[in-house]
Symmetry: D2
Subunit: 284 residues, 4 copies
């Protein structure tokens, strides 16, 4: 649920077509280098026989040599990644609602985010004071009177200056173009409310009220071309009832959203999440 | 959540356009009759200014006199109902899955259902043994080789013989026509799985697996003309993860379904549920 | 769960021995004054036949006249309170952990707390920067080298200067004397972690880890003379498993604590909570 | 959460002091035998550097040879177990409450329990009819007028006749002696209600009502010498509020208990649970 990795550890991430002996071969390479496995997880997706392995290990080694040996040992199609498990560099994007942004700014200020926020971008000015209060640069890039392309070009230019590893949509309420999304494939994380059942269209809380929904929730996911349809990282729910107005439901929903977003970032930044087709494989 | 009423108590249910002094006037009538209020709940739906009141009371009274006085006191549009809070007479309908049927049969056998099951109808024979084991009549009405109208006519004929106050769809997997539903308006209760997000179409658990959903649930609702879109009575969820197959998710989903269905029946049979447009007002 | 009252409304709170006709008599007084009931809730605690009523109403009236009429109408033992539903004045107390304090400071900054934080007191200096960043006075009152009485006397002196309606222990980690608690009876709110099962003594997360607990939670409660045994206002839980270290469990626990504390304050500040013996009656 | 194993698969369970290369060595033995790993999980308990591994695999092999090779490869202290993953043979023990017993009898009747119930023992006669209705032998062994030793001796004699792999206490309400427990160490599973906070002594639901508890739950655990203090297998909770009587809370608690007990049995019978000191390591 809420894992953390030892800061001194290294993480090996492997995805390849399943075959007999993969765990044996991979751990053999690590053993030969005298490396000590701290935590190990494997999973095989039977639908397409895809093997996933996440190994946290400690010890001294020469990265390029290790990777080369793994490449030789594993099938050519193997996707092998080595992470030194350092803080990720991220940019946050928001609109007017503060709850996700303030949650992340506070965690960041107290060293709990496992990431370095380098900047905040918003299409409104309202969250600027909060951001600056935490000593971080705030970019107000209004979308007013601009085409979507023009607005996104400005945002992309600011992002390019930061070179973030991940962009976190902390209640950024504008739909992003496929072109924008493509720039940050599997690196763009979003949070949105979720309902049982789902409501399509505007004012979902008003719809939830009208339907007498008993549970509302939130979903954190990677963004892909289909709006709100990308691989799910984390979800949670909260019970509600008919005595709560749509406004009160929205308040409750915000509490869930910010915790679920923070939890999803903990998982992603600790290199615990593989994206595979339209789902995630999570080693927690 | 899981309320029960005292068996000796009476329940007064009122719905009318909101107006000043309604609670005062209604409780005044009860007070004048020397009746003792045990539990009282009111709610005003602001969207259409509709007033709801549920009063549980004890004491001796002449029902027709009391109702007449309430009718005189309240606006003409008032919907006033008096229930002696006795066990409801119900028929269960199922298909092949046993989990909801067996849950209700067991509760019934131990006097926990607050209802009398008078018969079970299924379009398959497979659940006959279980039903008879609990000493209840089982009607196998196959739909094979019949038009929907012809099949429903047979089911309606059996139901007519029982005169049930409620029909409970305990995983009855055939879509019912609007004509069928109209026979049991606000008296037909269904259970179905629910997902965050929702999945349209066949094999929802396969879709949930493919999407890497983290939470699945169940919704008990009254049936109206729109499939699975009627007023929600109860919902619950359970966490899942990518290591569970679609088959395992379905197992977990069944556990939630049967408990949610049983809970919704407890609420409805205790006269705690008003249906209002497409939602429920629940006094728990 | 997360209710809010209309800011213009008034709230009438009544507690008295149960008797026939109480709702009738109380609503009669309001009706005679031409006041409009917005939301009404009653509850009778059968264990000691105590009647509770919370009425939210709108309209113009003379407070003393209304109270006088209610006093005449109700039994002499009745506890009658009228609230104009304004923001409460509160002081926060904390030690070293920031999560509850920062949650409340952020909500306060965005006008979501339904209260005015007038000051923050801590026995350590570490949270001073955060507090001042939000423009609020921070009182560092170290307990080092002082008797409990001496330290509490200093804290009480600062509190006396603020005249707060409620004191919120946002992870204040020192045990308060009965004398201190008596100064703020039913006005002192605390948050603490909770476990299934409970663990007595030090390092509860280490104990929870050793026992392989699957669920941890948090309880917000009023403080009374018995440590952590006062009336419960709100509780919530989160699932965990054996792969999480005691450190990771504590992280998850903090997320639950801050949301539960914020929710309990919303309930209390909206005048929805009666304290009765060692429990709460909550009208949500 | 609710896992199931392929019926044709084999399961290798290893516990030993942690050392470099364990995964490599173990998977090497399986690879050399041409066996195909279906699912693999490892965990190292850092508190005492104990390594756990659960491997589900398919293929043909000679069990004694495989075990011999593993014994040679691993440290002498290694605990190595091979399971052919067949249905466990179990006996259920109950007292008067039916909810856990009926849950397990129904699942058993429909082939969902992954175990064969060979008999039911109770110190009362009341559940005999239900048990026989499902075609299973019922042993009424009254404790009246007998010493604890004498009563347990009778129960142990009946159990001895069945040679069960596990004994499930499905609401068996008598305290078992250490001698009894020792006969079925790590093979005796119990379910009991759980509260936040915990309540010691009689009538916990009455205490929970008096305290205004907001959440109740259930814990399934292995029984050891300390009453209700053994290793936890599964837990779940349900929200409640002050409007529910102690009786209604107990009803809600029973719903949680039966689902949690069933879930814990699924985990144990699928060989997913290691008992380690006073906790469980669960590979789900």
């Amino acid at each position: 649920m809420l894992p953390a990795s030892s800061p001194q550890s290294h993480i090996l991430l492997i995805r390849c077509p399943d075959a007999p002996g993969l765990v044996y071969k991979i751990t053999g390479v690590l053993f030969a280098h005298g490396l000590n496995i701290i935590r190990n997880g494997e999973f095989v997706e039977r639908a397409d026989n895809c093997f996933f392995m996440r190994t946290e290990f400690a010890g001294e080694f020469e990265a390029e040599t290790l990777l080369q040996e793994l490449r030789t040992t594993l099938p050519a199609a193997a996707d092998i990644r080595l992470s030194n498990n350092q803080q990720k560099t991220i940019v946050l994007m928001a609109t007017k609602e503060h709850h996700c942004l303030s949650e992340l700014l506070v965690r960041h200020a107290f060293g709990e985010l496992n990431a370095r926020i380098v900047g905040v971008i918003s299409n409104y000015a309202v969250l600027g004071e909060l951001t600056r209060q935490f000593g971080l640069p705030f970019h107000h890039i209004s979308h007013e009177g601009k085409s979507r392309e023009a607005h996104e070009a400005e945002v992309l230019a600011v992002l390019a200056g930061y070179q973030p590893e991940f962009v976190v949509l902390a209640k950024y309420m504008r739909i992003l173009s496929s072109e924008f999304v493509a720039h940050y494939a599997n690196r763009l994380i979003n949070i949105h409310h979720s309902f049982l059942p789902a409501f399509v269209g505007a004012s979902p809380y008003a719809q939830a009220y009208a339907r007498g929904v008993k549970i509302i929730g939130a979903t954190a996911h990677f963004v892909n071309e289909q709006l709100d349809q990308g691989p799910i990282i984390a979800q949670s729910v909260i019970p509600i009832d008919h005595t709560q107005s749509a406004h009160e439901m929205a308040q409750a929903g915000r509490d869930v959203e910010k915790i679920v977003l923070a939890r999803s970032l903990q998982l992603v930044f600790a290199e615990r999440v593989f994206v595979h087709h339209n789902k995630t494989i999570i080693f927690d």
